[in-house]
Amino acid sequence: MSKDNPVIAEIRRETGSGTDLWSVIISPSIWALHFLVCYVSAAIYCQKLGRDAPLSDIRVLVIAVTVLALGGISWSSVRLWRVHDRSLTDDDFEYEHNTPEERHRFLSHVALMLCVLSAVAIIYVTIPMLYLDSCR
C-alpha cells in the first residue's frame, strides 16, 4: 500500500537524506531572477528610448513577471506547508534530533520562511513600478 502512494513515496525520498536543498533555494532564486528581469529590462528599455520615455510597457512586463514569480513561490509554499502538515512527529518548532526526518522538517520550515521573505521582497520591488511614469 505505502509503496504505491506517491505522497508517502515523496516523504521517503526526501526524508531519506533530509537535505532537499532545492526546496530551500528555489524561492530566493525566483526572487533573484525577478529582480534581474525587472532591473535589466528597465535599464535596456530606458537606454534605448531615452529619459522621457513612458514606462507603461515595462510596467506590464514587471507585473506579469511578478504574477509568475508569486505563483512559483505559492506553489513552493504549498508544497512546504504540506510537509508541515504530515509531520511524523508533533506539530512544533523543535528540531533537536539528529535524524533525516527532523532535518527534512527543519529545512522545509526554513524554506517556508524564505518563501515569505522572497514574496515580500518581490512585492517591494514591484510597488515602485506602479508609481513611476517615466525613465527619469
Binding site: 522621457d52 513612458p54 512544533d92 518548532f93 515569505v116 515580500v120 512585492i123 517591494y124 510597488i127 515602485p128 506602479l130 508609481y131 513611476l132 511614469d133 517615466s134 527619469r136
Partner: protein, 328 residues
Amino acid sequence: MQQGQRCSFLVFRLAPLACVPLLVGCVSEQSTLHPAGEDAAAIADLFWVMAAGTVVIWLIVMGITVYAVLGRKRPKTERFADRFILIGGVAFPTITLAALLIFGLALLPDWVRSDRPDLRVHITAEQYWWRVAYEMPDGSLANTANELHLPAGQTAEFVLNSTDVIHSFWIPNLGGKMDVIPGRTNLWRLKPTEAGVYRGVCAEFCGPSHALMAFPVVVHEPDGFEAWLAGEAAGVEERRGHALFVSTGCGACHAVRGTSADGAVGPDLTHFASRRTMAAGTLPIAPENLQGWLVDPSHHKPDVRMPGYASLEETERDALVSYLLNLE
C-alpha cells in the same frame, strides 16, 4: 557619594545645555519644517507623519519592554509566542514599511512635464559660488549671481549645471534638493507659495569652502518680482553708454568729472541731465532732441563745431542718450 551627587548635578543642570545646538534648527529661514513652497510642504507632511508613527511605535515597544521586565511573570503558550513573533516581527514591519513606501512614492514629482514653467532660471554651480541667469521672454539671459529672486505662486524651473565638481542645489523652505553634476543638465522645479527671504545652500560636499556657498532666496509677490527683474536690467544701458562715450571719442572734447573723459574743447557734461536746456538754450533736454542732436548737430545749430554721429548705430546712440540723461 559625593561624587555621585556631583554627577547627578552635572547631568540634571547641564543636560539642557546639550540641547542648545538643536535650537539652531529653529531658525526658520533655512528649515524644511517651515515650508514656503509646495514641495517643502509635502516633505514637511511626510516628516510629521513619520515622526508621529515613530512615537507610536516607540511607545508600543517601550510598553512591551516595561511589561516584559516588570509585568506579572506568567508562562505564555508556545502558540502565543509564535503568533507574537509572526505578527509583531513579520506582519507589522512588512505592512508598515509597505505603507511608508507607498506614501513616499506618491510624493514623487511628476517628471514628464510638457507644460512650460512660468520662469526658467539657469544655475551654474562653481567652487564656491552660484551663477544665476534668468531667461527673459525674448530668450536672452539676465545674469546675476549668489542671490535668487522668485515670484510666489509661480513655477520656476532651474536648469542646473556645474563647471567643476558635484554640488547640490537646496532651498529647504521651498523643496527638496537636486544634485548639480558637471557635464550633465539637471532640471528641477520649485513652486514657492509664500513671500519671504530664505536661505539656499550647497548640499553636497564640494571642497573646503562647501559650507560657505550659500545664497539668499527672496520670494516676491509677482508684481514685486517683475519690478525686481526690470531693476536688474537697469543701469546696463547707461554703463554701455559710458563705454561708448569714451570709445567714440566724446570724452576728447567733453569732460565728465570723475571719469577718464576730461576734454575741455566742448561744454562740461558732468551734470548735464540736471540742466534746463541743451546746446546753450537751443533745445529742452529730451531723449528725442538728444538723438537728433547726435545725428546732426549743425541742423539744430548752424556752424557748430561738434561733428555729427550718424555713423553710430541707433542702439548705440540710445545708449549714449541714456547715459547722458542720467548725468544728474
